[in-house]
Symmetry: C2
Subunit: 190 residues, 2 copies
């Protein structure tokens, strides 16, 4: 059980062992509850065939939420990114999860991602803006450029997340690449 | 000597002790050299009365460099920020070091920074663009807003560093504030 728990992100072998001991002590209550909860989730979780989100319904609760703006679509690499962006509560449109990023090293090509489905969604119309919200890594940016080229011919406003200083960032502690980005993309005040 | 060294940023008490032992072993060579180097630097360093940089000449080598664009001025909090930005080699103008940031908590007001001198430099003319390159902290941004208001009446292009994803930033690991900034300041692709 400890090695299974240790495979969870953020949980090392030591804290996994501590968690196991905690669960064993409470095996009649907590352990049963956790096992039931995991089984319940496993049985109910489905992948949204529209956007690729993981939820208990298909289409997922994000795709069917009537308060969301159907004309804005945010493209992300992974479900975790969708959830991270949604926590910021600033984006009120819908999402499209690619299921990864282009990577020559790992042998991931366009056909391994849900880019075809993305094109279908966009070609179906009704969407005005596409936000390419890839990670600021080399592979993320390669993926963003690739998608931007593939959708160039569509009448869409294509944007990408701003790059620059992170909140709380102190110039003296930031890498030169980020400083260069922040300087290159400097904006008028006010 | 160990406690003096341990006060250096980046050097803990343990690595300071290790450095002391290393120096003591080589006391006839390295220790004398280091002492002489420190004394030599101490005697020669001066603050540039134009921009506030620390250098061996006044005006400093940045202010007198003829290849630099005298029409662009980048305002930073500390000398360390000037050096950090200059390492990125993207900014080719001159600098103005404020000597700190506005802070109600630490009792730092506008008169404690070289804002008066900055205004004099700008009012003297010859400068087209002012880049406010404060840290992305609350105090840094307060300082930037204050300066932007004070120079509003001058015929200048006032810009600030872009805020957003740092280079290599993965959405899932970034704080919500940074994601919100990156989303709010999203830019057209291409």
């Amino acid at each position: 059980m400890a090695s299974a728990l240790a495979r969870l992100p953020g949980l090392g072998p030591r804290s996994a062992r501590r968690a196991v001991l905690w669960l064993i002590k409470r095996r009649e209550t907590s352990l049963v509850q956790l096992a039931e909860a995991l089984e319940g989730v496993r049985a109910r979780l489905v992948e949204c065939t529209t956007c690729g989100n993981v939820d208990t319904a298909n289409p997922c609760s994000v795709c069917t939420d009537p308060r969301r703006d159907a004309r804005a679509l945010c493209v992300v690499e992974e479900v975790a990114d969708l959830w991270a962006l949604d926590r910021s509560r600033l984006f009120t449109g819908r999402y499209h999860v690619l299921g990864g990023r282009l990577s020559a090293l790992e042998g991931v090509g366009p056909e391994d991602l849900s880019i075809g489905q993305l094109l279908q969604r966009l070609e179906a119309g009704g969407i005005d803006e596409v936000v390419l919200a890839m990670n600021a890594t080399l592979e993320g940016q390669t993926t963003a450029h690739y998608i931007a080229e593939r959708i160039e011919h569509l009448p869409l406003r294509v944007t990408q997340l701003a790059h620059g200083l992170p909140v709380g960032g102190e110039l003296d502690y930031l890498d030169e690449g980020t400083l260069a980005q922040a300087l290159r993309a400097r904006r008028p005040v006010g």
